[in-house]
């Protein structure tokens, strides 16, 4: 049922811009725009997964925080470890509030996912960039009307190779899924 795609190519353009902006300026005067929080279309929840002995898989999913503004997203993102520094076997997931990062959730169970497979070298070079791009696409509602078909995304840090999956709501909505994949 999965819509698999090897997507690395499509994401590479975006990556080049990232560096410059990260280094960008400490502003002298603060514009009013910087003082107002910018609301998001959806409230999102970040989850962390780490397998622990004597816990069920579901209980190993820890809710970290929820946010519904651009600034609160960054406040969270800026203060957590990057995906590439998680221990092997751990995941981050970001889903719309009310959707658990598991297939059994009623919002996910009819859906599929787009998958980006990364090789081992890409953990150091690409993983954080790709993951951030996916997060920004989701919170910015970059899939336009198809954004409603997006449930969330998961990054798996694994020794065999990391994965980033974008989970969609309904495999029957073929057109939306393809647009999201673009």
């Amino acid at each position: 049922m999965n819509n698999k795609a090897n997507h690395s190519v499509a994401f590479q353009n975006d990556k080049k811009q990232a560096k410059g902006e990260e280094e960008s300026k400490e502003h002298g005067d603060v514009s009013p725009e910087m003082l107002i929080k910018h609301p998001l279309q959806n409230t999102w929840t970040l989850w962390f997964f780490k397998i622990e002995n004597n816990r069920t898989w579901e209980d190993c999913q820890m809710e970290i925080a929820s946010f519904n503004t651009v600034e609160d997203f960054w406040a969270l993102y800026n203060h957590i470890e990057s995906a590439s520094h998680l221990k092997l076997g751990c995941d981050y997931s970001m889903f719309k509030q009310g959707i658990k990062p598991m297939w059994e959730d009623e919002h996910n169970c009819r859906g599929g996912r787009w998958l980006i497979n990364l090789n081992k070298q890409q953990r150091a070079t690409e993983l954080d960039n790709f993951w951030l791009e996916v997060l920004l696409l989701m919170i910015g509602e970059a899939f336009a009307e198809h954004s409603d078909e997006v449930c969330g995304a998961v990054v798996n840090v694994r020794s065999k190779g990391d994965k980033i999956g974008v989970w969609t709501a309904d495999v029957k909505k073929g057109e939306s899924i393809l647009k999201i994949g673009d």
Partner: protein, 117 residues
């Protein structure tokens, strides 16, 4: 100028809009400061068919260093290696890019927890 938040019409994009009036722009100075306003006054606060709050990547990236994003969220749970320092993990200072020496892949302890899904 980079993109500000744009509340774009998400549906019925094909439906032509009746624009009540036109505003001629003669110089860049007449452009609004913010994409959520339109020259000569904002025409609509909502769009037919509902609005979706859309942010472009450039704008989101700019907001990364907003003063409002510098404080960690309240009630952030303490999770070693995620929200708190872990002995094995060196935290990078926000915004600085420090090339850390690559750590050896996977210690034995890590491997025993590995699960491929």
């Amino acid at each position: 100028m980079s993109a500000s938040p744009v509340a774009r019409q998400a549906v019925a994009q094909a439906v032509p809009q009746n624009i009540p009036r036109r505003v001629t722009i003669n110089s860049p100075a007449e452009l609004p400061n913010d994409y959520s306003t339109t020259p000569g006054g904002t025409l609509f606060s909502t769009t037919p068919g509902g609005t979706r709050i859309i942010y472009e990547r450039t704008f989101l990236m700019q907001m990364r260093n907003s003063p409002l994003a510098k404080t960690p969220p309240k009630n952030l749970p303490v999770i070693p290696g995620v929200t708190a320092k872990d002995t094995e993990v060196v935290h990078r200072e926000n915004g600085t890019i420090v090339e850390e020496p690559e750590k050896p892949e996977a210690t034995d302890v890590d491997n025993q927890f590995e699960m491929d899904l």
